[in-house]
């Protein structure tokens, strides 16, 4: 009875992963699929590890795509959750409508999110340029997605807009599970708002934050859509990340063997992270549901 799902899983995840491992030791080309590739040992890996471009791609993925966007979402998500949970918003009866509006970016498909932001950030007449010029903050329009100084912050903005709601709602629920007695007790003891946050609220929220961080890293590190649709890895290859590198090397440069070796590097990194997740999160959970 488990055969159907394992049929799909084996031929979709299992066999391709193994065949990718083998291909990474060959010079397989997209033009010579029928002929197959020659076995060339570790040459792809040597080429990859000795290429300066690869380290730049790696840095882009690790720092800009993942680290910056994940930290930003955690911080903003927490701030937004605190805002939505504040007494002021409740008193003004704005908490519910805020939560509802929060669902809007989340329900927007990533591909559409990128499209609309490309329009907002358009380098000639986009809304953001218009607004900044209207406020007198800039003289000439900025090509947000083509200028190397601002292209990464622009991509990160798109990612944050699309995925911040999920982080916020998760943290908001975490906040609402903080026992009120704890906060009251802290207040009786004369703790200010800041102290209460760092000594009561944040420690209570920490497990949620850690799990969220781990999941965000998983989702973002491997992500292809945001960068590819926003800039196509450009200008030039300035915003190239591992996911787009795999696609470009395989389907534009036709070097499937090399592309596979990039994939294996990525798989290795994800496997380490996967083990951490499995060990500290998933196992505990299985005990509860199996």
């Amino acid at each position: 009875m488990l055969a159907p799902i394992f049929f799909f899983l084996a031929f979709f995840y299992g066999y391709p992963t193994l065949s990718n491992l083998y291909n990474s030791f060959t010079d397989l080309s997209l033009l010579g699929l029928k002929r197959g590739g020659e076995f060339i040992g570790l040459r792809n890996y040597v080429e990859l590890l000795s290429s300066r471009d690869f380290y730049r791609v790696f840095w882009n993925t690790l720092f800009w795509l993942t680290a910056v966007s994940v930290v930003l979402r955690l911080v903003l998500g927490l701030a937004l959750a605190l805002l939505l949970n504040s007494m002021t918003l409740r008193r003004w009866r704005l908490a519910t409508v805020s939560r509802l509006l929060l669902l809007v970016p989340w329900a927007t498909p990533p591909i559409v999110a990128v499209v609309v932001w490309r329009w907002l950030l358009d380098g000639r007449q986009g809304f953001v340029n218009g607004a900044l010029q209207g406020l007198g903050l800039i003289d000439r329009p900025i090509a947000f997605l083509a200028n190397v100084d601002v292209v990464w912050p622009s991509i990160v903005t798109i990612i944050v807009w699309n995925t911040l709601p999920l982080v916020t709602l998760t943290f908001l629920a975490g906040l609402q599970s903080v026992p009120p007695e704890l906060e009251e007790a802290a207040e009786m003891d004369g703790a200010g708002a800041v102290q209460r946050f760092f000594h009561v609220t944040l420690p209570h929220l920490m497990p949620t934050v850690v799990v969220m961080a781990l999941l965000l890293v998983f989702w973002t590190f491997n992500n292809f859509v945001y960068v590819w649709l926003a800039t196509g890895a450009g200008p030039g290859l300035f915003t190239n990340v591992l996911a787009t590198e795999i696609y470009i090397k395989g389907f534009i440069d036709f070097e499937l063997g090399y592309s596979s070796s990039v994939g294996m590097v990525m798989a290795a990194l994800m496997a380490v992270l996967g083990l951490v997740y499995f060990r500290f999160v998933a196992l505990r959970e299985f005990r509860e549901i199996l």
């Binding site: 799909f8 899983l9 498909p109 809304f127 009120p180 949620t208 799990v211 994800m270």
Partner: protein, 293 residues
């Protein structure tokens, strides 16, 4: 998805009780909080609203914040250049894939939830880890595999892929849901000598229906907006799905923003309509994989 995060996502709708924490009515603080709220609202909603507003604007007024000339021309354009075909392809692939993936996942979740067998946790773990598997790594080897067995440029290949990407979280969600269904229900049927499939069909399926609908909806949304596999496996225009059709409007020379906004609106609307009711009763782990791509 962790237990903590799950419950976290599940509760905000259901816990409206204000906590009696420090009520100080400092007008300055209030003003700052309200101002921040409106800034946040604008940031959240403005881009999405513009998809719909822009889709009814002419290309001349597309970039103007004030000028607005109502037109349906953009919608006419996208259907003239064959967007209807993409909609049909997407609907066909996604609906077939949802039915298959839900069917096999319901059976598997019953087995994982009710049966005892060796290496159960390991197998379950293998299924669940599929949720975290980087799709981009699979694109190249799957492309080669599909090329060799003739599944490139075929809806069958896409259906296979979409079933496979939704199985891990479907099984996970359904197992979680089955835990809320009393075991006595189906154990009694086992005593009576009912066959496995009869138990699943006549007992499990009806009580699980809300969970199945939520899971299937979620799977549909995931497939509906999937871009990467479609990009790699579908190159023939007549077979392409909506996300590809949408991306196609970004031409080399010019960008028809009106058409893009109309196509975006058509892509987003079903997502909104399906997502909002789903979110209100969002249960365990529905968030897992939602930002993959």
């Amino acid at each position: 998805m962790s237990r903590d995060a799950n419950q976290a996502v599940a509760t905000p709708e259901g816990n409206p009780d204000p906590q009696p924490v420090s009520i100080r009515r400092n007008p300055l603080t209030t003003a700052v909080i309200l101002a921040a709220t409106f800034v946040v609202w604008t940031f959240l909603v403005f881009p999405a609203v513009w998809i719909f507003v822009g889709s009814f604007k002419t290309n001349e007024t597309m970039f103007s914040a004030t000028a607005f000339t109502f037109t349906l021309e953009n919608y006419a354009t996208i259907f003239r250049v064959g967007f209807g075909r993409f909609i049909f392809n997407s609907l066909f692939i996604c609906l077939v894939a949802v039915v298959i993936s839900t069917f096999v996942s319901v059976i598997a979740s019953y087995v994982f939830s009710r049966k005892r067998f060796r290496r159960k946790r390991l197998l379950f773990g293998a299924v669940i880890l599929g949720q975290l598997f980087p799709w981009i790594i699979l694109v190249t080897p799957l492309f080669i595999m599909f090329a060799r067995i003739g599944l490139l440029n075929s809806h069958a290949g896409m259906i296979f892929s979409y079933v496979a990407i939704s199985i891990p979280f479907s099984v996970y969600l359904l197992v979680g849901y089955l835990e809320t269904v009393p075991r006595e229900l189906d154990e009694a049927a086992v005593m009576d000598g009912c066959s496995q499939f009869r138990i699943i069909w006549t007992i499990i399926f009806p009580v699980m229906l809300p969970g199945i609908v939520a899971t299937a909806t979620y799977a549909f949304l995931l497939m509906w907006t999937e871009f990467l596999f479609a990009l790699a496996f579908l190159t023939r225009t007549s077979l392409k799905t909506m996300p590809l059709g949408l991306a196609q409007f970004f031409g080399e020379q010019s960008i028809d923003w009106g058409a893009i906004m109309a196509a975006s609106a058509v892509t987003t609307l079903p997502a909104l309509v399906l997502f909002l009711p789903l979110q209100t009763k969002l249960s365990a782990g529905l968030t897992a994989g939602s930002v993959k791509g």
